[in-house]
């Protein structure tokens, strides 16, 4: 059955690695709904967190084909309940709203959001959470004059991982070849 999965991929730091990974989804007609990547605690090793709507059966094969790539360390597919994850959203609101419309402060407090910056024209609110909470918050802010909204992809940590940090540290001992 098609549902949302999180795919995590550990890679070397190479030009084009994103392309190499995404091609494998493209071939099977799987749309990537979000993708984030950043360096891990080990310099030169990157982690991709990719969300997709697909089936477990397809993704197990995709992950195998990703792992086959030379510059990939490991790739995994995770069910929703196997990862702890967060997404981050920013909301830009007209500063006028602070004076005219209801109680913004209460709204921010109740939703565990926070104000990042305030200028004469606008202020920016940050909120982390899951997709649904973040989009629900848009509706709550709309009466105040939402100017812009943006959301990150996912960052995720695996519940069942035991010693991935140790594993990466071992990698670090072997120098990345050219």
């Amino acid at each position: 059955m098609q549902k949302e999965y999180t795919v995590t991929v550990y890679t070397e730091d190479r030009i084009g690695i994103t392309n190499r990974i995404t091609i494998i989804f493209t071939r099977r007609g799987i749309n990537i709904t979000s993708l984030t990547t950043a360096e891990t605690e080990i310099p030169g090793v990157f982690k991709f967190v990719i969300t997709v709507l697909s089936t477990r059966e397809k993704l197990d094969k995709v992950v195998g084909q990703i792992e086959r790539l030379i510059e990939i360390h490991r790739a995994f597919v995770h069910e929703e309940d196997e990862v702890v994850y967060q997404e981050l959203a920013l909301y830009k609101i007209s500063t006028k709203a602070l004076h005219t419309a209801g109680d913004v402060e209460k709204l921010i407090r109740e939703n565990n959001a926070r104000i990042l910056t305030i200028t004469a024209d606008y202020f920016v609110i940050e909120k982390t959470g899951h997709q649904q909470e973040l989009t629900d918050f848009i509706k709550k802010l709309e009466p105040y004059g939402l100017i812009e909204y943006t959301k990150s992809g996912r960052v995720a940590i695996v519940k069942w991982s035991r010693r991935f940090h140790e594993h990466l540290k071992e990698l670090d001992k072997s120098v990345a070849s050219y």
Binding site: T11, E12, I15, G16, N19, R20, I23, R27, D60, K61, G64, Q65, E67, R68, I70, E71, I72, H73, L171, S174, V175, A176, S177, Y178
Partner: protein, 583 residues
């Protein structure tokens, strides 16, 4: 010609290393010296603007590296593939940027599908021009990403030796494949202190998985309790050099073997346990008995759809042991009850030790029975016709007999390929060279010339259709210029025969664009100074084959064969294997 000394590649001690003077050379010379350090003796290629500095460097090394000037870059890739498959070495091809590079695409994709180790080196515009739509600039890295095992663009001369070392290591290790190294012009002309170290390790790449002894033990238990065990022999057996290990396992427990198209020649056709060819146009018994066996031992094969037909019914009644070096192939098509992720040779030799001697006479009898049925219904009339036009099969039978099954057979794609694969009686490993996964028409002529370069002591015979021949016939120019003694047999039915067969069977005989009005092939060969002969009558066929084989050097034999011949048996595409048709 200026001669250059071979460099000391690996200084003996640390002290030597420190004191060794590293020569300052250009990136282009570094390319050639790196190739020499990897043992490269033959390169197939075609020069052009962005690779000219490398060709200039090559000029000084003509005594060490033999460059074959092809007539089209696609020919260079197929020649490199043929060379590799015949010699076991990594094939090497050169091309310039832009169109030179894009012409490599078909050969790269073919080598990727058929796990052939190949390193392609392309010239590229200067680094400062990258991304500007410069003359003959193309994003060959982006284009070839999905069809190479690995590729890299090198923009600094000092990165050349490392990139080439890694390219060769990746191409030949694990499941082999093609690699492309794209080198910008500035890196080719810039100078640096050259030093070459072979690559033996990449931390994110494990080419040969560690053998899991528990899996081997479990597999042996399955084999020991099987009543109708059945080995599928794939290309991986040849790539790993596991032919003897496979036979010892099969002989010990009396297990019949069937081969995939690319696994052909791993097991001698006349071996008593050899059951024949799997797949759409394979043999009757080995296909039918996939529905009867209780255990499949699949070695170095990937359950291609041409082998499985309908996957929902394929080997459903049997347990499956899958021995495979590439983890991504496990459970990709057919779920494995036991997966042995390993090199085939290592896995088979471990497995042999745990397998008990056994007899499966009744089971083997089923293969013989099926073979007799196919022989009576199909093979006899194909191999020994007494009237009518010449048959493809009888031509292949004669070639097989006259070469004693010992030639390297290079086939193209289509009916003639299936017929040649069905009827040539292979004796020795690595003597079957064909385009399997990609089914690339035009493969055989350049591949045969590469194979002859890779195994000059062997008779190399390309069997090619009239359609395929016209896709790469310009390589006759290469064969003439470089005096490559491969033999070519055109089985000419004036049709794109396999497509015509499908039109006949599945498209109500609507022969849409499959009939060919052909040129005079013998005149064409003559234009390239290659002798040849055209045969239209059965009584002339044997003598013509003798004449071809007796000729020293390249030779073209055109055999005009039955126009509307069909290849049987046949499993209709996507249908269960049990629906195999004998007529």
């Amino acid at each position: 010609m200026q001669q250059k000394d071979v460099l000391p590649m690996k200084p003996e001690t640390e002290a030597d290393k420190r004191s060794a003077v590293k020569p300052v050379i250009t990136g282009s010379e570094a390319v050639i010296r790196s190739l020499i350090a990897e043992g490269v003796e033959t390169i197939f290629g075609y020069p052009g603007g962005a690779i000219m500095p490398i060709y200039d460097a090559l000029y000084d090394f003509q005594d060490q590296v033999h460059h074959i000037l092809v007539r089209h870059e696609q020919g260079a890739t197929h020649a490199a593939q043929g060379y590799s498959r015949a010699s076991g070495k990594v094939g090497v091809a050169f091309a310039t940027s832009g169109p030179g590079a894009t012409n490599l695409v078909t050969g790269l994709a073919d080598a990727y599908m058929d796990s052939t180790p190949m390193v392609c080196i392309t010239g590229q515009v200067a680094a400062t021009l990258l991304g500007t739509d410069a003359f003959q600039e193309t994003d060959v890295i982006g284009i070839t990403m999905p069809i190479t095992k690995w590729n890299i663009q090198v923009t600094r001369q000092e990165d050349i030796p490392g990139a080439i070392a890694k390219a060769f290591y990746i191409a030949r290790s694990g499941r082999p494949g093609p690699v492309l190294v794209d080198i910008t012009k500035n890196a080719q002309v810039g100078t640096f202190e050259f030093e070459y170290n072979k690559c033996e390790f990449i931390r994110s790449y494990q080419p040969v998985p560690e053998l899991d002894n528990e899996a081997v033990t479990a597999a042996a238990a399955l084999i020991n309790s099987a009543k109708k065990p059945y080995i599928f022999c794939g290309h991986g057996v040849l790539l790993s050099g596991a032919e003897n290990e496979l036979l010892s396992l099969a002989e010990k427990a009396q297990i019949p073997i069937a081969s995939t198209l690319l696994g052909l020649s791993a097991v001698p056709v006349d071996h008593p346990l050899y059951g024949g060819l799997l797949g759409m146009h394979g043999n009757y018994a080995p296909n039918m008995l996939t529905c009867e066996c209780d255990l499949v031992i699949a070695v170095g094969m990937r359950f291609d759809d041409r082998v499985t037909g309908d996957v929902t019914t394929f080997v459903k009644q049997a347990k499956v042991i899958h021995i495979e070096i590439d983890a991504a192939e496990i459970n990709k098509i057919i779920p494995a009850d036991i997966a042995i992720l390993a090199d085939a040779k290592e896995a088979l030799s471990a497995l042999s030790q745990l397998v008990m001697p056994a007899k499966h006479d009744a089971w083997l009898e089923e293969f013989r029975f099926g073979h007799k049925k196919e022989y009576d219904k199909v093979q006899h009339r194909e191999l020994y016709p007494e009237s009518g036009e010449i048959k493809m099969a009888e031509t292949v039978r004669l070639i097989s007999e006259k070469t004693n099954g010992e030639a390297i057979l290079v086939t193209d794609v289509g009916q003639h390929q299936m017929i040649a694969s069905r009827y040539y009686r292979f004796k020795n490993p690595n003597t079957n060279i064909t385009s399997g996964g990609m089914g690339t028409m035009g493969f055989s002529i350049p591949a045969a010339m590469g194979a002859k370069m890779g195994a000059p002591e062997k008779e190399v015979i390309a069997v090619v259709g009239d359609g395929c021949f016209q896709m790469t016939l310009q390589e006759l120019g290469t064969i003439y210029q470089s005096q490559i003694g491969c033999k070519m047999v055109i089985l000419n039915n004036n049709f794109l025969g396999m497509v015509r067969q499908w039109q006949q069977l599945f498209f109500d005989k609507r022969y849409s664009s499959t009939e060919m009005v052909n040129p005079d092939f013998i005149q064409i060969a003559k234009g390239f100074f290659i002798p040849g002969k055209k045969v239209t009558a059965r009584e002339d066929l044997a003598a013509a084959i003798d004449e071809m084989l007796a000729h020293k050097g390249a030779y073209l034999l055109e055999v005009v064969v039955e126009k509307e011949d069909n290849v049987f048996p046949m499993v209709p595409a996507g249908a269960p294997v049990s629906t195999i048709r004998l007529e």
